[in-house]
Symmetry: C2
């Protein structure tokens, strides 16, 4: 992969904001592990990875109903909880047979996902020179729990319930930019997903790509490489921090 950062980008950027699910945390491993404990406790036979994938496959369609205006904004917490029921049914489990508190606790697993090995150190390194924060479809409470659980040293957390918009809606990118008192070009979105970066660039944000080649498991075939000339291409968040660090005069 080419490694390049335009000198002008480094100078302009004041805040580095991150896609979270997949880019900062390993949602598939975290959810599979929560599903495995849940199955164990309820003596159910479930394939934890397949369950995690099925749950995540509801993510975009459920947000699309909000983005398209079919329903008003509701939090990702609510969507995760709602989406759990059809996934359980697909696996032959009647959600009505499980105590509601247990289902809520399982949905809460999205608050406590493990970071990729370079995330904590990379964010801390960037924090020296930039404002760091998530730019995620997660709601604020989810992102706060995740940060405290995983030790993510964000400066500021503005969830999708602040912008009341889900990516890739323009407001999802522009509301946090406005609240930070910055211009779009002063904010970089870092993501492992080319489509997210394309939407951020369309509304004027700078873009940084890091690959997460195991996000979707061993057979991942999407987002293995950058598909456009993003402003920064890095191998990890620590690598990205090194590329963005001010060079001594």
């Amino acid at each position: 992969m080419a490694r390049y950062i335009a000198p002008s980008t480094r100078q302009a950027v004041r805040a580095v904001l991150f896609d979270v699910f997949g880019t900062v945390v390993d949602w598939r491993t975290g959810i599979a592990s929560a599903v495995a404990s849940f199955a164990d406790r309820h003596r159910l036979t479930l394939d934890p990875e397949a369950f995690a994938d099925a749950w995540r496959s509801q993510y975009q369609p459920s947000m699309e109903r909000v983005r398209s205006g079919m329903r008003p904004y509701v939090s990702l917490d609510l969507l995760h909880r709602e989406n759990l029921d059809p996934v359980l049914r697909e696996q032959g489990v009647d959600p009505a047979a499980i105590p509601p508190g247990e289902l809520a606790a399982l949905a809460d697993a999205w608050h406590f996902l493990p970071p990729w090995p370079d995330s904590v150190a990379g964010i801390l390194a960037l924090k020296r020179d930039f404002i760091v924060g998530p730019l995620s479809n997660g709601n604020t409470a989810l992102l706060v729990d995740m940060a405290k659980g995983a030790g993510l040293g964000w400066d500021v957390i503005l969830g999708s319930d602040v912008s009341r918009a889900y990516k890739p809606s323009p407001d999802a990118y522009l509301a946090p930019v406005g609240l930070l008192g910055l211009e779009p070009g002063e904010v970089m979105l870092v993501a492992a997903h080319n489509a997210d970066l394309a939407s951020a660039r369309k509304v004027g944000l700078a873009t940084g790509y890091v690959p997460r080649r195991a996000e979707l498991g061993p057979h991942q075939h999407r987002n293995l490489a950058p598909t456009a000339d993003w402003d920064v291409l890095a191998e990890s968040i620590t690598d990205l921090a090194g590329r963005l660090a001010p060079t001594p005069e």
Copy 2:
């Protein structure tokens, strides 16, 4: 001063949010120092402390115009900048004679105020067991700059431009509570100002008082002591952290 914390309060509270101007940072010293440099650079004769007091005296009336509905929400950054002009005129300085960039830079001093000696350590100590953040009339960009400048280790920053309400309006307290996914009783406001605590208690928040007896300078006569039975009475933020720390079983 009595030192007491009800055991039930300690158990219920999950987030400790702070009034900022006066409680966490020493705005009077910070603004006076910025005014002194400004006066020096422009060869003006100004009394820096009196100037800081005059500027701050515009704070409540200018927010009241928003609270009362006389004008829509505008950020504290804008109010600070607007309020600077009459203060300069009072001191015999024509604001039109000063380059606008210089006036903006002076108003920006509200972003970079010095913390009281116990603030940084006290917030860090609380961060181990609680969500910590500001609950301030400052806008998000101001609070982010202040946190990075002063080293305040907030978990989350939700400025008044997120709630679009100024304290003591109920929404100013309840909007951050809702975004954190908490009930009012799970959030404690810490403040050096009895009136702020009274408003927070009215909408169900827990309350913690720390005195800042030099906030208004050597002749302060307000807020020298608690005027009600706030849930926690402490001498400083580090003292408060000790009182709220979970006791080992």
